[in-house]
Amino acid sequence: MKEIKLEIDGIEVSAREGQSVLNAALDAGIFIPNICSHPDLSPQGECKLCVVELRGETVLSCRTEAAEGMKVVTKSEHLAHLRNTAMELMLASHPHDCTSCRSYLNCELQSMMQYLESVHARLRSVPKKNIKWNTNNPIILREMERCIQCGRCVRACRELRDVGILEYRVLDGESYIGTAENKTLTEADCRFCGACVAVCPTGALQMDEETTYPVVPCRAACPAEVDIPRYVRLTKEGRYSEATTVIREKVPFPLALGHVCNHVCETECRRKELNEAVSIREIKLFAAQNDRAEIWKTNHKNKPATGRKVAIAGSGACGLTAAYYLSAKGHEVKVFERLPVAGGMMSTGIPEYRLPRDVVESEISALRENGVEIETSSSVESVEDLLGKPYDAVLLAVGASVGKKIPFPGADHPSVFAALDILRSVSLGETPPLGKSVTVLGGGNVAFDAARVCTRLGVEKVNLVCLEPEGAMLADDEEIQQGQEEGITIFNSKSTLSLEADGDALMGVKVIDVLEFSFGPGGKLNLTTKPGSEQIIPSDTVVFAVGQKTDLSEAMGVDLTPFGFAAVREGSCATSREGVFAAGDTVTGTRLLIEAMAAGRKAASEMDIFLGGDGNIEEILTSRDTPEGKIGINEGFAGLERNPVNFIDLDERLKGFTGIHCAYTADQAKSEAERCLQCDLRSCISKNKTWTDFIKQ
């Protein structure tokens, strides 16, 4: 492209052919006031602030093309006067009070008032009349009394998005920004992409959330920061392998997550302000199941060997994720697993009907192919046995594998188990000695896992007892609903008093009605019960599902917290022992797979630094093409409904341990992905610089 030389305020500046004087100046670090122009939009020449002098005449620098040899003056008394008049015209109908505006301190108009020392109209103030239109929209707030009619939003909607639903309108001789026929944004088929909000220089357009919101809420909510909108978009375009690769850039278990991730991202999805969240997990499962090309395998390269050796205790989500990234950084990694199978809770905790074992095996074998060595049936008893022998660093990722039991009277009976014992033994192909009727104590997801496994093992009567009332249980609604369909009886708002035995045989669980409960400091339970409401729930087996702890002891050689978890330095994975790190459930107690994986990533990065690396474990495995911003109109967009998750029929479900959850069809996946608001498109919009951006650093 041809380069042009011109002079601005006596400084020689180069410009691209066709560039405006305004942009040439801004690029060269010379600030010219402006407010209706924006680097990504066509010029409009509405605000008149960008006036400059050229050959003794005043022109709008946004509409004047830079030309060879041009001499431009941007500051003079005359220009200051013109700009002040322009400002005052804008301010005449603007509220005098900024204090309740969300854009306060991040407002281009406010900053322009400071810069031009023009804070208020000397003119009579002219309050706007047409501010009531279209103020009741989801997601996008319109406080149109703050609008200065710069038209940036109109141009953004049309030029950046090809949606074009915003326009200048006139009523009672007053112009305002609205939609055709003053339709609400929903009726006008707004895509709720937020481009108009991103470019608005005032507080007129805002996102309907607290002022500091993440631009891409799902991605910010994901513990591993998986680039959700990107893989959702790629799935929509049928580029499944690339979609899976985007997930793989952050976590090595897309399929397992596709089955059982608790999707905190969906809780934050902005779409739920319109109707329901995008079914992100189902899109992930579909993409991962349809990754034929496996691009990631070609693009992933382990770094050259560093000669450093890492031992990892525990082959769960955390340990294996760390193993993968550490070997990618060129370290030699060996994972020790106490049990005969690798995978931690993915193989021996989460029941097979939710997470098929061949899925986990296939993902683990991909890690093995990539250089991660796993030794099963090999327990780590002390870091002493590993550190320096010959390992340079050790990661404790042994999880929280001991199910807690509460010492109620009778809890030491041989027919009382912890949920994890049952889940593990079933996973290892054993048959736990259950009776005819089982009562599970606990109301979380683990309780349902245990209860539903019992049902599948042929137990005749399965009960579940929990403190929480109906509607406030900790387990996911889907679990509760399916558990009930499968015949589990739920006793809500009950506290256990004792386990009753008759001679050797367990008879049942004595419970009492709970009126109110709360947890005090240190997890202490405060309980109000209803006197005289005691009852016995008959059962010959009892299963505790009241939380998990680690089985770590002093012998491991690192400091522990008072609750028995590995103690780490704040904000770090480093333990009390130099060279020994800990992460995942071992540190936090049972959380989520995705959190354990995120913790594994963090540990890998820290350990890499410890081993002399740069700690950067980020991978780019697929090309980063800029997403298409011109999304156009999609009729009825706001109303597009969420595709339900596919489960197999109830009688099929009860037959055994086969997976109950089927991926979307290609059509479902596409239409679900279509629902995404593509919040990330906003990140591609430039920021219009204001005077404070030109302060030299």
């Binding site: 309740s100 306060y104 804070v119 208020h120 009531k132």
Partner: protein, 507 residues
Amino acid sequence: MSKVEADVVVIGAGASGIAAAVAAAEKDAKVIVYEKGSTTGGAANMGMGFFAVESRHQKAQMIDLTLDQAFDFFMEYTHWHADARLVRKYMAQSADTIEWIESLGVEFLGVYKYFEKSFPTWHVVKVPGSNKPTERSASVMFKALTDRAVELDVELNFQHTVKKIQKDPETGRITGVSVVDEQGNQIDCECDTLIVAAGGFGNNPEMIKQMTGYTWGEDLFSFRIPGDDGDGVNLMWDAGAVKSPVNVELTYTTPGITDIFKTLSETMRQPNLMVNLEGLRIFNEETMQNTTFTGNAISRQTGKTAFTIISDEIIEDYKKTGLDYITFHHNIKTVDKWQSEIDAYKSGGESETAGLSDLHGEDETGQVCFWEANSLEELCEKTGINYKNLQATIEEYNDCEGSYDTLFNKHPKYMRAIKGKKFYAAIHRPCGYGTLGGVKTNDMLQVLDAENKPVPGMYSAGFDACNIFGDSYCFLLPGNTMGWALNSGRMAGYNAVDYLDSDDFVE
């Protein structure tokens, strides 16, 4: 992660922060400022002027209020709850601060009172080319301070949030701050002194609840300046500062009206009848101009609410004479726009908050705060005021029309009877500009720990360190919050550098 170094780090570039930065840089310190927003001036951009006593403007205007008088008044007002040494230093520096600001090319319009019974201490900044006092005029001064900071090589970082204060675990000295920029990159900045001026926590309802007992959106409708989230006090508390009692700079407001419908709002803030939900008068309405006192009185009532009630005859009166109270910053003199504003307010549909819907909270959307009725009974039905009591109150009140107010001794000229064909009521709720205090400082603005000892190297200024008002903000010496902010910032800036040059500081 990148690393930088400074002598003095300033958190926040609002009124106190930018003043502190300039002051420290004037003493040749290397100063780095971290500001969350994208411009300087913070909450003070909305302001118009600030407090000083014995300034050259006061002398020129023949205002004879002396430093001693102002000091004595202030200490009496606060019942000596305030740190007298600090108040004295602040007031003693205030006149010079006016000249300090003028040396940057900023002009003042003159010195003003805020309302009739207040002292003339409010130095209002002039907007170039205009001789009218205008809202936001102080922002002109922040442009000048910013330019001055740049000239003195202060490094200004916008959209940078400080996440943690670093201290030496052994000596307890400040060693630096961890900062995150707009893109989320982490920066570690080493420094020897730190001035925290992050603007209080007016935008943090949880902290407001915890520290003041008000529930924002329910019984407090204070301004929420985005960014004033309490970062500063939280950082200081985490780094060993002791918590100090916090006050709201209390005023009152009619949600959804005060900011937008100025004639409506100002007319309903005239010294006419004010009652509580029980229909009883609560104070001498002449005091309404002292917004803190009014806020205090309203806060005592059921639901922390009060109502002003007027009638069409009063409006007719105002059409002839103009309003009784004209506030300097809103400058509404007549009721010309009375009807058109009522129409605009109502056209929003009474169910929807007019205008600034969201920032005033979800709870306010759907609230009606101004009512019209054809009878007092109807008005009571709409507002929930006790009708029987109100009838009695008005009877008694109307009896005193134009004469001695037997209950509260309000001036006869404000005793306008409530009678006519139409009645209007507006609800008033506690409001405020921001939170005052959070940490305790000594008279050097050094932040104190639980043992009343300075945390070495840590200073604070502005809202975060504003403990000088006792239980109520002092509107009687107007311009006091911005005055405090600029002067405490300026003192903190100088003191921080003096500390670095002193024997107390060991490298």
